[in-house]
């Protein structure tokens, strides 16, 4: 039998990771974690996660940057804030998950073709461009960009039903003052 090491040696850890994440919004209290597990036991998604929230926090605190950022966990967080309101150490766990998502996008290490980051990116893109989301176009883009034509076919009957009820249309929604939105977003980008 071959013995395999499953935990990193100290010198393999990313020692700057905690400070890097702590500098992001909502993450200043990360140090206070007492590893009680209230978050993991409150989370409706933890049974589907590769690491439950408590472990993710421990990973961030101890420099397991790659594991945390490449995890499915951060994308599976549906942002229900149950962990956050229950945390006895007052860590804003949902906001930490958001920060890790952004870091994973920044470092381009999120799971490829995984539908959730695709949805987030496509929706942001639609809004940045038109000022409004168009539900139907968002869904079409989601299936297209996550390369899941079968998923689209499976959703088609429901789509027709919703169209019949007047709840879905192919109309592109947009704001009038797109110029203002564009100037606002570029002002942010340039860091005025």
């Amino acid at each position: 039998m071959k013995i395999q090491r499953r935990v990193k040696y100290e010198e393999e850890l990313d020692t700057g990771f905690l400070d890097e994440i702590k500098s992001m919004s909502g993450c200043t209290e990360l140090d206070e974690c007492i590893q009680c597990g209230t978050c993991s036991s409150s989370c409706p998604m933890s049974i589907y996660m590769d690491y439950p929230p408590r472990k993710i926090i421990a990973m961030v605190k101890n420099g397991f940057a790659d594991e945390a950022l490449r995890s499915f966990t951060i994308w599976l967080c549906p942002s229900c804030y149950t962990c956050q309101v229950r945390c006895p150490a007052k860590i804003k766990i949902t906001d930490v998950m958001y920060a890790l998502k952004r870091k994973a996008i920044e470092k381009k290490v999120y799971p490829a073709r995984f539908a959730i980051p695709v949805l987030d990116r496509e929706m942001s893109r639609l809004i940045a461009k038109h000022g409004r989301n168009s539900e139907m176009w968002l869904i079409l883009n989601l299936y297209l960009k996550s390369r899941n034509p079968l998923g689209m076919l499976k959703m088609a009957p429901l789509g027709f039903k919703l169209m019949k009820a007047g709840r879905m249309s192919l109309r592109r929604e947009s704001i009038k003052n797109k110029k203002q939105l564009k100037s606002l977003l570029s002002a942010i980008k340039e860091g005025t």
Binding site: S25, Y81, R102, L162
Partner: protein, 294 residues
């Protein structure tokens, strides 16, 4: 601020237009007619905060600025919009360097924001400002005998609620009792419906909604009442597949609280967007004695 300006968000103009179709006549009936915020942009929901939080707060800042110019506070019926606008509002008031940067960018783009707007949910206004007593006095068709499971979901009550409990809220139950319905003890009232996961990882979405519907059935509810477009959508569209997969009869009408409130206030059901339901409502009408579907 004086009065409210209505922020619809994408859902109330699309998939959940029945929410808009019922909330507007209800507020009119209650003497608080709502005007729509001119040229509002999307709130960005959970998506934009996952990609870029500065941009996300900035686009919300534009909405807050538009509202400020009208001199009114925002009323946002969608729980996602409500939370996102509230979160951004808090952030912009935080005096963090990033917040200052956003406020500067807003000013330079012609949408200066002073920070005077409050973001409220219609439920909060109904129960805290108008009050269940006043609403009860206006009821023309009490929904007697109707058992409702009040489903609050997540983002209305967490993490910033200042009008109800984050784990076991009761305002919607109070409102439903005021219009004559019986609110069952719905233990799953703040359990997550999965949000957009129903569209991205279907198996998980089905399971989460199965748990909710099963609990509503167990408590003998006739209908689940929601306050959020995504909750309503998920609970409704997953039903057929849940029945197929779990071989259990969990079918049940899913309506917005504003639709039931409208019925109780005597607004004709044709004017409340009720025909947009894709789950059969016959059991509901039988219970209410209003007869016939649609």
């Amino acid at each position: 601020m004086n009065g409210y300006i209505y922020y619809p968000g994408c859902s109330l103009k699309g998939n959940s237009r029945s929410y808009e179709e019922s909330i507007l006549p209800v507020f009119k009936e209650l003497g608080l007619p709502l005007q729509e915020l001119e040229d509002w942009n999307c709130c960005g929901a959970t998506a934009y905060f996952s990609v870029d939080d500065t941009m996300a707060a900035a686009i919300c800042g534009r909405n807050l600025s538009l509202a400020e110019k009208t001199g009114k506070d925002i009323v946002a019926p969608c729980a996602g919009c409500y939370l996102t606008l509230k979160k951004s509002n808090k952030f912009l008031a935080s005096r963090q360097p990033k917040a200052a940067k956003i406020l500067r960018a807003l000013k330079n783009s012609g949408c200066e924001y002073q920070g005077t707007v409050e973001v409220k949910h219609p439920l909060e206004i109904l129960v805290k400002d108008i009050g269940p007593k006043a609403i009860k006095a206006m009821v023309r068709n009490p929904l007697s005998g109707l058992k409702v499971a009040c489903y609050y979901g997540c983002q209305l009550v967490r993490p910033y609620t200042d009008f109800d409990d984050p784990d076991y809220p009761t305002t919607l139950d109070t409102l439903m009792e005021a219009i004559g319905a019986k609110a069952v003890d719905f233990a799953a009232k703040t359990r997550c419906c999965g949000g957009s996961l129903t569209g991205t990882i279907e198996d998980v979405g089905l399971r989460l909604n199965y748990i909710l519907l099963k609990e509503a059935k167990r408590k003998n509810a006739d209908v689940v009442v929601t306050i959020c477009p995504l909750c309503q959508f998920n609970l409704e569209i997953t039903q057929r597949k849940i029945v197929k997969r779990y071989k259990e009869d969990i079918q049940m009408p899913i309506l917005y609280f504003s639709q039931l409130l409208g019925l109780a206030l005597g607004i004709p059901k044709e004017d409340l967007g009720i025909s947009r339901s894709i789950v059969p409502l016959k059991p509901l009408w039988e219970k209410l004695g209003h007869g016939g579907v649609k």
